[in-house]
Amino acid sequence: MRKLKPYYILNLPSLFFVFIIGTYLILFAIKTSIFDYKTGEFILFSNILRLAKDNYFLSSLNTTVIYVVITVLTTIVIGLSIAEFLHYFVQNSKLRSFITLLLIFPLATAPVAVGVMGRLIFTPEYGIMNVILQQLKVINEEIKWFSEPLTALTAVIFMDLWEWTPYVTLVAFAGLQSIPKEVYEAAQLDGASKIKTFQYIDLQYLKPLIFLLLIFRTADEFKIFDIIMVMTKGGPGFSTETLAVYLYRVSFKYFDLSYGALLALLIMVVMMVVSSVLNKLLWKEVIQPFR
């Protein structure tokens, strides 16, 4: 008789629980989206028809895509730049520890608190953002941040960047620290410039991490909810209403749980597609060449 190795057996309980919990919730969502959660009436087709005609869904999807693209790319570019700066220009270990500690603060802040800070920072009358911009002579008149769709979205994105850029910085910095010194020495001997060193050493070593960050950050940003709810509640009008905020409105303001479940499943499917595309890229660009 075959005997399983202990580490396989030890993994089984956790796999079992993760699976049961995950399966139950997904099955529940599937059932709720097919049958009315109160009457049990079959409503899948009417829900799909409603979705096809739902302008608010399309508008929130549009806002979400814009939000995700801007925040993910910007956090990666800025986060990577800060990590490079720390790697090359801050050699003092105490200073590095201090900066690392500072970078952890935004990460340790609850998103709701980030939202509250955002409301205070961007409030026209006494918010610090207008004061700074006026001092820097960037603007003459105060901006009514939450009155216009573009400025409201900018304010929300700014707070998101504040919270998540340090995460990218810390991950990228850890990646840069793991690059062997010999590689840099060899590059120096070959006369490689800073840009070439970044392009052919840093970027190549960081590629797997950048892809992982892309996957994680995209998945995270796609679910963005707390900061927006606190700062704008999706307003003015619908201009900062992302999919998660719309899903909340449908499920917990309208208590239309069946349609909400359908939206939730759709978000899950979209996320799975995006993740699998990024995974494939990760495999093709990063893992496969080394196998």
Binding site: M1, R2, K3, L4, K5, Y8, L12, L15, F16, F19, I20, T23, Y24, L27, F28, K31, G40, R119, T123, P124, E125, E142, K144, W145, F146, S147, E148, P149, A152, T232, K233, G234, G235, P236, G237, F238, S239, R249, F252, K253, Y254, F255, D256
Partner: protein
């Protein structure tokens, strides 16, 4: 035979996992779909006895060791928390509070009651949630179980009884609810009503009409000195709707007619929104995104000369010596009225209700708590501890009026609402329908868009109307 365990390769291990998962899915799905939800609910419901509790006395009903009360995290719960130890001492029953933020509390209640159970023996409920409880039948009818009669205590404002009754005694009744017999499911314990604050150092006399509010605002508005004539609470959703209600009602407008015709595009409502847009122009910048805290701050810091407000904003900000710069410069008065309306203040009452899913002995003692907290002596203690009283005699208590200057404005607000009830009109509150939260979210989104200048008053209300029709029609409402 070798005693060495045979190696299991990765492929075999994956096969095991897939088999377990597939079995789990099939068994789980079969069980899940095979057991109808109603069967579970009915089993639970059967455990809830239907004995009439009004014949019971404190001698015959076993005393529970504790009662759990669901409360909202916020100033609304200050009073009930303060007097709970007095009840514990008097009745030897421990009071445990399950405290949640506003949205989480509602979600917690709904999801618990949907499952046909309750972890709360009493719930503190925003009055806007009452239609949901009434239509779902989740609460104990106080008239049936305890013989409580509507309007029997003249010290309790009629509005309190009206808010706790379902179906609504006046105004449009949601489809499917018309044939239900009316019962009383709750009574107010937080007598929260809108009041009006103005700067008496800038404005000579309290405004009695909304036209006076606008003309005062135009006179004192001076952004160069950091003073704005008014401050709106325009944040998307419920905040914007709640702020608009008294203005709309004073113009003679409403959301629905008695036959559920949507009145948002009526001249009265459009005029009211245009009027509010005018007030917004005289408000601090960014007020289209202001919630209650920002509004209270604007008044307390001296940058807004007039505002509709809630009692909690007054005690916590405007008359709080640690925060306010205008302590001696403001006066609290009733919200101005309008046509046939002495005062257009709206309710923000919180009621106590008893879920029907709890055992009878707990229901009995929960009701005892409800009666106890509404006695004048306890109400006074409650009010002195920062709670907002409901009883009229307590609202006029000289000691309290001196300590909390909003008390007389509260009394006027209740009188305004009670007058409407006496005229056969709905109380001054949101429309009574379980779809209320969706309605205020939809309307509040478009009011916010109009205040932000993204829509005109006409287009905002037209779009809100269309969305309300799309939302309510499939639910059987005869809206048009």
């Amino acid at each position: 035979m070798s005693s060495e365990p045979k190696k299991v390769g990765r492929r075999t291990f994956i096969n095991y996992i897939v088999t377990i998962i597939a079995t789990g899915v099939i068994v789980g799905a079969a069980t899940y779909f095979a057991v109808p939800k109603e069967a579970v609910t009915k089993t639970i419901e059967r455990t809830v006895t239907t004995t009439v509790t009004k014949s019971l006395t404190s001698a015959t009903v076993p005393k529970p060791s504790s009662l759990t009360i669901g409360i909202v995290a916020g100033p609304e719960s200050k009073g009930i928390k303060a007097v709970a130890p007095l009840f514990e001492k008097e009745y030897d029953i421990k009071i445990t509070f399950a405290e949640y933020p506003y949205d989480a509390l509602y979600e917690k209640y709904v999801t618990t009651f949907e499952a046909g159970m309750s972890s709360f023996d009493l719930i503190m409920s925003d009055d806007v949630w009452m239609p949901k409880w009434g239509s779902e039948g989740w609460m104990t009818p106080l008239d049936v179980e305890f013989g409580l009669k509507t309007y029997e205590n003249s010290d309790i404002p009629k509005t309190s009884y009206w808010l706790g009754s379902w179906p609504p005694p006046t105004g449009p009744v949601p489809p499917g609810e018309e044939k239900k017999s009316r019962h009383l499911y709750g009574l107010s314990i937080v007598g929260n009503m809108q009041v009006f604050v103005y700067r008496k150092d800038l404005i000579n006399k309290p405004p009695e009409t909304w036209d006076e509010v606008l003309s005062n605002a135009q006179k004192v508005n001076d952004p160069s000195k950091g003073i704005y004539g008014f401050v709106v609470r325009g944040m998307k959703g419920e905040p914007a709707t709640m702020h608009f209600l008294p203005i709309m009602k004073s113009f003679g407008g409403d959301f629905f007619a008695d036959d559920w015709r949507i009145r948002l595009t009526d001249k009265e409502v459009i005029d009211a929104l245009k009027f509010e847009i005018e007030l917004k122009k005289l408000s601090p910048p960014g007020s289209e995104n202001f919630d209650a805290a920002e509004r209270a701050r604007a008044v307390a810091m001296g940058s807004a000369a007039q505002a509709i407000t809630w009692p909690a904003e007054i005690t916590d900000f405007i008359l709080n010596p640690e925060v306010s710069k205008v302590m001696d410069k403001v006066e609290i008065v009733p919200v101005p009225g309008g046509k046939n309306l002495p005062c257009s203040a709206h309710t923000g009452n919180w009621l106590l209700c008893i879920p029907k899913f709890i055992p009878n002995d707990k229901k009995y003692w929960a009701f005892e708590f409800m009666k106890w907290i509404l006695t004048p002596n306890v109400q006074k203690e409650y009010a002195l501890s920062g709670g907002i009283p409901v009883l009229k005699t307590v609202q006029t208590d000289p000691e309290l009026v001196k300590k909390y200057p909003y008390q007389s404005a509260l009394k006027a607000a209740y009188e305004g609402s009670d007058t409407r009830i006496e005229q056969g009109l709905p109380a001054l509150c949101y429309p009574r329908t379980p779809e209320l939260m969706a309605i205020v979210t939809i309307v509040g989104t478009y009011i916010n868009a109009a205040l932000a200048g993204l829509e005109t008053a006409e287009s905002a209300m037209q779009k809100a109307k269309e969305e309300l029709i799309n939302y309510l029609k499939p639910k059987g409402y005869p809206v048009y």
